[in-house]
Symmetry: C2
Subunit: 347 residues, 2 copies
């Protein structure tokens, strides 16, 4: 018997963050008697008088939202990072090290329509979200006290999203957060060695191998990375090496909106539910340096595993040992790729 | 205004795994409108005919449990790691690296009594669990194909536990898992520099500072580490530097059972619920080498934040940026420390 990646337990290496993950392809066969989530099926109204993100409504802090159409951005009323944090820290030997951190946190409403989600929005409207990301990346990035702009979306109550109104967030900070810092290091080492970005080589290799591809357009590829941890984890990677979203052409911005929709439609169609995930852009720090090693991409971390109501738990062994998945990246990609391309609600 | 660790957002360094975490002390003030978990309050019978871990019952694979009293161990019917995995892997350039992984996974029932949990068990009965850990660490550790023995417990449905019968697991492997590998590196560097284990210095510093202590006995300290990520994350650390549980004396084994109960009673008392967590031992690899740098400890990662039904979501920013917490380690420690020492159900 020889080793076979489809059937045998193995570890895979993530060259982007330097970690290994464990794959146990046979594990999905075990019966599930654990927690069952509430599947999301209810239809929401276009306007909810109790929603603090709907146009014209009052927010927690007492502020009133304008009567916006399309996108709307405001500073998070409960920001995790603040601009007026004094510098300083604790330096009490090697074991007690702390440093002040400051930043700006924002909330981005994707649409005035409370009932929508990205996969149900039109590409032209998602494009407005991409434009707002660009504006915010510019504005925050020009601030000398902001060295990293983390744009992300938590979708679904099981992903900690506390309001179903379509929205995302931006947490921007003086320091470079842990994950982008790891990716800076690995991408820099790769670029210095090969004179090309890691993800340029990666995306081209995947375009040839095909088995992990989900979809593509002229400018972007959606795929399940070889080293995915979450069952249906995916990445959107630009075909052309660009450091950040500001380098995208007009057509590429629209293509980003297009692939964002394509991927999330697949997700919704998989279990015919509004598929929860955390997603976010990784791109060059705004620290005033040139970052030819950085290659724009977007990560999607969705928790569901077996159905609309059974998720993967990253617990015990995953927290104390090694992150572990129960199906292969290739199997997950095939399932998503073979789904109809139209949103299930439109059938 | 000068920097103040109790009020201002800051980063803290975890010297044990080399990562930074973000603390936003003011964030717990935000209102919560998101997902609410089902609190665990129901009483369970001492024996459940439908439970595959109860004595005398049939398991998924068709095997029948013996009529055990106390602890009972068996090989996981759905092991993530298997002994007969052929060696091999994939070596297709830097970006596609995989390696076969093998190991042995076991399930440990803590008691025949289906209704119990660790905080509700007697110390003499928890001691039997500690003895079984020692037996298993010896047996698995002597296997030349096992280089790490990860003992852990997932407690509660929200922590992915699929059966409420009191039990834990052991996943042992040929490779050293990611987290212990990181801790090996940091502990080794510290030991080489100081000639003492990192956690020996750490535990003594905390015994002096007192603000993060939860409880202690002659042999162990329970505390919230300075760098805790989860709201009520805790560690149990041996006062004496021991590499693994086999080095514990008889009295120390009982003390480990005692502190395990003390900490979990605090947890249950915090929100008067059966408090979910993933917990596990970290100790020296069983790779045949001497590991004077390794200092036995146990991590507890509990998800609850605000109440029996509102947990902390490690999502969006946490996955894409930096793990973030909403209350300080010191505040969390004070809340736990000030609770009554008797289990709330006994009042
Ligand atoms: O083996 P169990 O208890 O069914 O499974 C649970 O623990 C495992 C080890 O932490 C995890 O991989 C699973 O996601 C979780 O549901
Ligand atoms: O700001 P929100 O949406 O209320 O909060 C959500 O996203 C944050 C950023 O990922 C997390 O820290 C919170 O745990 C989560 O509930």
């Amino acid at each position: 018997m020889s080793f076979n990646i489809e059937d045998h337990p193995h570890k895979r290496y993530n060259p982007l963050n330097g970690d290994w993950i464990l794959v146990s392809p046979h594990r999905a066969k075990r019966p599930w008697q654990g927690q069952v989530e509430k599947p999301v099926l209810e239809e929401r109204p276009k306007y909810d008088p109790g929603c603090y993100l709907c146009a014209g409504n009052e927010r927690a802090g007492g502020k009133v939202n304008p009567d916006y159409k399309g996108t709307f951005v405001f500073t998070n009323d409960f920001s995790a990072l603040l601009t007026d944090t004094p510098e300083g820290g604790i330096d009490d030997g090697e074991l007690f090290q702390a440093q002040s951190e400051s930043g700006i946190c924002k909330v981005i409403c994707f649409s005035e329509d409370h009932s929508l989600t990205i996969p149900e929005m039109e590409v032209t409207d998602i494009r407005k979200v991409v434009d707002l990301w660009c504006e915010q990346y510019t504005e925050l990035g020009e601030n000398p006290d902001i060295n990293y702009v983390q744009i992300f979306e938590n979708k679904g109550a099981i992903m900690g999203c506390s309001n179903p109104h379509p929205h995302g967030q931006i947490w921007s900070s003086k320091g470079i957060p842990t994950e982008p810092a790891k990716e800076s290091k690995t991408q820099k080492a790769y670029f210095e060695k090969h004179g090309k970005t890691m993800l340029f080589d990666y995306v081209n290799a995947e375009l040839e191998k095909k088995e992990r591809l989900l979809d593509q357009n002229d400018s972007f590829v959606a795929l399940i990375p070889f080293w995915a941890v979450w069952p249906f984890e995916a990445m959107i990677i630009s075909k052309r090496p660009v450091q950040n979203i500001l380098e995208l052409t007009e057509a590429e911005r629209t293509d980003l909106a297009d692939i964002y929709k394509k991927l999330t439609v697949m997700y919704d169609n998989l279990f015919e539910t509004s598929f929860a995930y955390s997603a976010g852009l990784h791109q060059a720090p705004t620290d005033g340096e040139d970052h030819p090693e950085w290659h724009l991409h977007m990560h999607f971390y969705p928790p569901l595993l077996r159905s609309a109501s059974v998720k993967k738990f990253m617990v015990g062994y995953e927290m104390l040992g090694t992150p572990q998945r129960d199906i292969t990246a290739e199997g997950a990609a095939k399932r998503l790729r073979d789904l109809p391309k139209t949103h299930f609600k439109k059938n």
